[in-house]
Symmetry: C2
Subunit: 170 residues, 2 copies
């Protein structure tokens, strides 16, 4: 038996080529957690953990087992991508909260998120590049070892000027 809970209605995704009378809940559209794990590459325990964090909200069967919507595959896959880009789960949740509630997200919905991620990625890349260039300066002048390097305050007079190496890093 399938029991739909909370404010979410399980629907099949709209298929323009085949708009049957009214989209009904087909058991095959609901995905158990193990299956979800296989499809996304996440572990079962991680998926449960994400549910606890509110990143995904599966419905439950009458026997209390989780059943996910097909669109949750994208949600969970997104978590995986965003994490590898260095986002924390809190930031990821903020991004996901921009998706519509109560309907399956469209391409446009996801694109907005993707673009925002891309901006963060660009920022991180240029920060790393700046850091690398300053490090180059250090290597050139024997920095990290010699007080005379211009990136260090000279001869440990750093003492009264505040934290030193932070200067190297923007």
């Amino acid at each position: 038996m399938i029991c739909v809970s909370r404010d979410r209605q399980a629907k099949t995704e709209m298929t323009q080529s085949n708009p049957q009378t009214a989209p009904k809940l087909r058991t095959t559209d609901l995905i158990a957690i193990g299956e979800m794990a296989r499809r996304t590459g996440l572990s079962v325990s991680a998926i449960r953990f994400y549910e606890g964090k509110g990143l995904v909200e599966p419905i439950r069967t009458s026997g209390n087992q989780r059943r996910f919507l097909r669109s949750d595959i994208r949600r969970l896959s997104f978590i995986l991508i965003a994490q590898q880009l260095g986002l924390g789960l809190t930031e990821i949740e903020q991004q996901l909260s921009r998706l519509p509630h109560g309907r399956t997200p469209t391409a446009r919905d996801w694109q907005a998120i993707s673009r925002s991620i891309r901006e963060q990625l660009d920022a991180r890349i240029s920060l790393l590049e700046r850091t690398r260039d300053r490090l180059d300066g250090c290597i050139g002048c024997g920095c990290l070892s010699l007080a005379k390097c211009q990136l260090y305050n000279r001869d440990d007079h750093l003492a009264e000027k505040g934290p030193g190496p932070r200067q190297v890093l923007g």
Copy 2:
């Protein structure tokens, strides 16, 4: 009273312009932990923590207080830099272990480490750039939302092919 322990001899750094008879231990060359914290920008507790990890080995006074060498300023500053480049303390320890034991590290010693860090930095930057470019592809085709995107195996047939979004990320 100063008590020099372990295998480390406290020395002043060599100053070519002023090579006094034999370099002696001057109290002013030994740095207490609070002073070290001010000079490096680290917290006192973090410095103690790093000592526990073997990243720095201060000597002790007869009253059991830590006293650091001037060259430890560089050691600790390096930790700060390397951390901001994303290295873990374990990797940092490996790098630091390449420094000479029993003598103050020279510019050349530090340069070897700096160059190795730079290589890692380059690698991380190019990984991020590759990721960004693939993400661009996703944005362009409505990926992260639509099964038709070439970066996804189509229509959830992903199921039998293994983890999905990992494909996006090299």
